[in-house]
């Protein structure tokens, strides 16, 4: 059973930095949005290697599915 992990760091002013692992593609941002209501409060999003890898895998899978049809 895969584990989803979010590490929240609350700085001295109450701002939050969140780092996720174990999520697939955009679902990490969705999970953070559910958790923190991100609309209008995010100052910076840095996508990790893991995010890009999973996005690439998903794209590859879509391409291969297209290739079959």
């Amino acid at each position: 059973m895969p584990e989803q992990k979010i590490t929240l760091t609350i700085d001295d002013d109450g701002a939050i930095t969140a780092k996720t692992s174990g999520f697939k593609g955009e679902s990490c941002l969705e999970a953070l949005d559910e958790l923190l209501n991100l609309e209008g409060v995010v100052s910076n999003v840095k996508k990790t290697d893991e995010y890009h890898q999973q996005q690439t895998q998903q794209t590859n899978r879509v391409q291969s599915l297209k290739g079959k049809s």
Partner: protein, 169 residues
């Protein structure tokens, strides 16, 4: 004829004035309903007046609030001017000299008063900041638990709160 005059420092803040009067050894006493009848003054006293240990023909010289500032009420001729004090070495000085001394003490006390206000403001902002961090922490923990995460709380090397949320999917 020409003249140059200098007015006294406007005494605006009661707390600062009382402190300044203490500094110059004027032993201020505030008139309250309970001590109003115990002090006599030919011109009359009212609740809120601030007595000094200086007296003249009319009775104790005192400060009374007049609009937004306090003024010293005294006999203009300073007849029978004296100091009634438990403090040693206190001699009567002319009203102008006394007001100069009080003005000088008022200015330095006012500077301390401003520092105190700044410190109170700093403390208030710090408390607000702490409350904001705590509210964020509690909100994050509550939301995480409601979404099935288990929460582990630690502190990082900078002393910041770190919440590690995990769940199996």
């Amino acid at each position: 004829m020409s003249a140059v005059i200098k007015t006294v420092t406007p005494f605006v803040i009661e707390e600062v004035l009382i402190e300044a009067l203490l500094v110059v050894g004027a032993e201020p006493v505030k008139i309250t309903p309970s001590n109003l009848q115990t002090v006599s003054h030919r011109g009359g006293l009212v609740v809120g007046d601030i007595l000094t240990n200086r007296s003249d023909f009319y009775g104790p010289q005192h400060f009374r609030q007049n609009g937004d500032h306090w003024i010293l009420r005294h006999d203009s001729s300073e007849m029978n001017g004296r100091v009634s004090s438990m403090l040693t070495g206190k001699h009567y000085s002319k009203v102008g000299r006394f007001l100069e001394e009080v003005g000088s003490a008022y200015e330095s006390t006012y500077a301390k008063h401003l520092e105190k206000l700044a410190e109170q403001e700093r403390i208030r902002l710090e408390e607000e900041r702490k409350a904001r961090v705590e509210a964020t922490r509690q909100q994050a923990i509550a939301k995480a638990k409601s979404q099935g995460y288990s929460v582990k709380e630690t502190t990082n090397s900078k002393g910041q709160i770190q919440l590690v949320l995990t769940r199996m999917v």
